[in-house]
Subunit: 420 residues, 2 copies
C-alpha cells in the first residue's frame, strides 16, 4: 500500500497551528507496515484540492485526508472528493441522529441548517462514526484505490483512526513491524555513521535510521516479519553487532518513540538511583535548576533526591554550600576548584551518596573574569571522592544550560556505574 | 510572491518527528505578506524530490526547502536542487572554515571526509551562514524564481531565517507588516473572545488573531501599511480599545514572536526584580527546580536571584528551610502552612525581599495523605508579609509543574507591583 497524506486547512497554510496529525498518522501507518510517500497540505480551496487528489493518485493507491469536514461553508473536503469520484450525496439518518445527540448534550440549543451538511454522505461510501465530535469519517473504494476522510481536530481524528481506520487497514497487511531505539551519547552523528557505515549501507531487514538529537544521536532499528519473535530475533542480532563496535557510547536501548528532542539521560540516572537506593544532592549555578527539574521528571525519585541548591549568588555558594571565600577569590566562581567545593558542600549538607555541581558562563556575555561564554565545570561527588570536568558548549543560554545538564547526568551515570 | 514550502526527511514520513518548521515559516511569511499555497513533505529520495520541485515551480515562484543538508549520504537536498537548476558545485572555503571552527569548538577532534560535503555550494548561489550549526543555507535565483534551502533542525532554521532570509525576502514587498503580541493571564480564551467579539468580527486592518497557550491567551494584532508610523498608530488605537475592556488580564504587550507555548510571565517578573533592585529566593518542592530554571532564563538576573532550594525531601524542608517538624506532621507536606513556612524559611536564609515556595502533588499518584493529584500551595514572602494560595491543576506531572510555576510567577508579580 502506497499512501499519501493530505491535510486540508487554511489555518495550516497560515502557520496558525502546527500539524500534528501528519506525524501521528505516519507513525501509525509505519507501524502497520505501510509506506507514506508524500504529505501535502493545501488550503480550503476546491481547485487546488482536486489537483492534489489527481497528483496523489498518480503515484499512490491510498489517500488519507484530514480536515475540512466541518459544518461551515469553507469546509469543502467531502464535496471535492465526491466530485473527484463522481458520486452524489444522500442524507445519512444515523449520522444525523448522532449529530443531534452530541449537539444537544453539549448544551447547544440552536441547531442550524448547516449542521445537516455533516450528515450528507457520498453514495457507496463506508461511514465511520465520530465518538468525539460531529463529523463522521468516510471511506470510498474504487478500482483498488481508496480514500479515507477524517476530521481535522486531533482528538477526533485519533479516536476515529484507532477505532475504525486501523482495523480497516490491518486487513491489507500480514506483517508485523517492531522497532527498537538505541540512544548514543558522546559520539557525533557523522563519526557514528562512519563506524557502522557498512551496516547502514547493506540494511534491508532490519532497517536502520540515524537521528541527530541535541547533544546525542538516536538509532532506530525496525524489523518486519509475519512472526513477532522473528522480528525480535532480527533486531537482537543487529544490535549485537552494533554494540560490538560502538557499545561504549550506548546509554539506552528502548521501545519508546523518539518524538521530541529531549534526552533520556536524566531518566536513566533517576532509574539507577532508585533501583540501587542511592541518594543524590545537586548544586547548580550555571544550570539554575535545570538538573533538579530534569531529575524530578521521574515519578518515584523523591526518596533518592535529597536536595537541590540553586546558588546563583556567591552568598549562596558560601553560606549554603560552604564554598571557601578564598577559593572564589583566587580561582573565580567559574573554576574547577569551586565546582568541586560545591559538589562536596551540597553532598555533606544532608549526607548524599552522590552529588553534582555546575558552574559556568551561560552568556550572552562573560563575567568580569573574561572566561569564554559556554565554559562550564561539572563537579562530582561520588561516595567520598570528588572530581571535576571542564566542558565548553556553544549556543544560546538555554542550549548551553541544557547541554551542560545532560553532560552532568552523563557524568553521574558514569560514577554510579563505577560504584555498583 | 507565491510560495511552496517543501520539507525533506524520511523521519517526517515515518512520523518520527512533528514538523514544526512548516508552521513557523508559514507564520513568518504571512507576517511579511506572502502567501503559502502548498506545503509538501517528501523523503530523502532523489526522484520524488525533483518531481516535487517541478510541480512546485509550475504554480509558484518561490520554494523554500528545509532539511536534507546534513553531512551523511542520505542528505541529498542540495544535490537534487543543483541538478534541477543544472549547477555544478564548488568548494566554499569560508563555509569550510566555519564548519571546522564549530566542530573543533564542540570538542569533536575527528573530522571526517563527509563533513566536507556541507561546504560544497552550487555555482552562483547566495550562501547563508549558519550560526547554530554546520550546514550553510543556500539561495538560487533564476528567471524570477527563487529557491531557498535551509537546514532541518528548527533552531538552526529559525536563526538563519531571522538573520538572513527575512531581510532577503523583505526586498520583495513594499508594505510593512507590524505585529504586537498581547499576553493575557487569568482569563480563558472563550471568555476573552466573548468580551471582544465585535472587534474580532469587524477586523480588517489591523487584523487580530487569538491563540490559546498553556494557561494563558495570546492576541496578535497585525497592521499593514506602506508607512511604518501608520502601522504603529493603527495598532495603538486598537490596543487602547482592548485595554479598556480586558486590560486587567494583560500582563505584557510585546513585539516578540509567538512560537512555542512558553509563557513570558517569568521574564516579566525577572525584569521587575532587576529594574527595582529587589532580591528573591525560591523554595521548590512540587516544581522541583522549574521556577529557578525559568528565572535564570533572563540574563542579568544573578544580582537579584539569591538562592533556590529544591526541597523534595522532608529532611531538606526541615534542615535547610527550617520548616517545623510539627507543621509537617500536623498538616502534611502539601499544605498552606508548610508552603508559608517554606517561603519564610528560604527568604530568611539570605535575607531576600521576596520569596516564593511550592508544595503539591504532581502525580501520577497521590501521597499517603490521599490529597488529590494536581493540588498545590504557593507560599509567598513579600517584604515581611507571608501568604499562601491554593490551586488545582489538571494534566500530567510536567503540565501540573509548569502551570504551578507560571501561577507562582503571577503571584510574585502581583506582590511586587503592590510594593512599588
Amino acid at each position: 500500500m502506497k499512501v499519501e497524506l493530505v491535510s486540508v486547512g487554511t489555518e495550516l497554510l497560515l502557520g496558525d497551528i502546527v500539524n500534528t496529525n501528519t506525524a501521528y498518522l505516519s507513525k501509525e501507518l509505519a507501524a502497520l507496515g505501510f509506506g507514506v510517500f508524500r504529505q501535502t497540505t493545501v488550503g480550503d480551496n476546491r481547485e487546488r484540492l482536486i489537483k492534489t487528489l489527481e497528483s496523489a493518485f498518480l503515484e499512490n493507491d491510498t489517500v488519507i485526508i484530514t480536515g475540512g469536514l466541518g459544518p461551515t461553508d469553507d469546509d469543502i473536503t467531502k464535496e471535492c472528493v465526491a466530485e473527484y469520484f463522481g458520486r452524489d450525496f444522500y442524507f445519512h439518518e444515523y449520522s444525523w441522529v448522532k449529530i443531534l445527540e452530541r449537539l444537544t448534550r453539549s448544551g447547544r440549543n440552536i441547531i442550524t441548517e448547516n449542521n445537516k451538511k455533516q450528515a450528507m454522505i457520498p453514495e457507496g461510501a463506508i461511514v465511520l462514526e465520530n465518538f468525539c465530535g460531529t463529523a463522521p469519517g468516510i471511506i470510498i473504494e474504487e478500482n483498488n484505490k481508496r480514500i479515507i476522510l477524517l476530521p481535522g481536530p486531533p482528538r477526533e481524528m485519533r479516536d476515529m483512526f484507532e477505532k475504525s481506520v486501523k482495523p480497516y487497514l490491518e486487513k491489507f497487511s500480514n506483517k508485523h513491524f517492531i522497532s527498537k531505539y538505541v540512544r548514543f551519547y558522546g559520539i557525533g552523528e557523522s563519526l557514528l555513521e562512519t563506524k557502522i557505515k557498512d551496516i547502514m549501507d547493506n540494511q534491508t531487514n532490519p532497517t536502520l535510521a540515524l537521528y541527530a538529537k541535541t547533544g546525542e544521536v538516536l538509532l532506530r532499528i525496525t524489523a518486519s516479519d509475519e512472526d513477532k519473535n522473528e522480528c525480535e530475533q532480527l533486531i537482537s542480532e543487529q544490535l549485537k553487532e552494533i554494540e560490538k563496535r560502538v557499545g561504549e557510547y550506548i546509554y539506552l536501548v528502548g521501545d519508546e518513540d523518539i518524538s521530541g528532542t529531549q534526552t533520556e539521560m536524566n531518566n536513566v540516572v533517576a532509574n539507577l538511583l532508585i533501583e540501587n537506593n542511592f541518594t543524590i544532592s545537586v548544586a547548580e549555578s550555571l544550570t539554575g535548576g535545570k538538573i533538579s527539574s530534569m531529575l524530578v521528571e521521574k515519578s518515584g525519585i523523591s526518596e533518592s533526591f535529597l536536595e537541590g541548591v540553586v546558588c546563583y549568588s556567591n552568598k549562596s555558594k558560601i553560606n549554603t554550600l560552604g564554598v571557601n571565600e578564598e577559593t572564589l577569590e583566587k580561582f573565580g566562581a567559574v573554576s574547577e576548584e569551586v565546582a568541586k567545593e560545591m559538589a562536596l558542600g551540597v553532598a555533606n549538607r544532608l549526607g548524599a551518596d552522590f552529588a553534582v555541581a555546575t558552574t559556568g558562563i551561560a552568556g550572552p556575555n562573560s563575567d568580569e573574569s573574561g572566561k569564554p561564554v559556554g565554559l562550564a565545570y561539572i563537579g562530582i561527588y561520588s561516595k567520598g571522592e570528588v572530581s571535576a570536568k571542564e566542558v565548553v558548549f556553544t549556543g544560546d543560554r538555554e542550549l548551553i544550560r541544557y547541554r551542560t545538564s545532560v553532560e552532568a547526568f552523563a557524568e553521574i551515570r558514569k560514577n554510579i556505574l563505577e560504584k555498583l
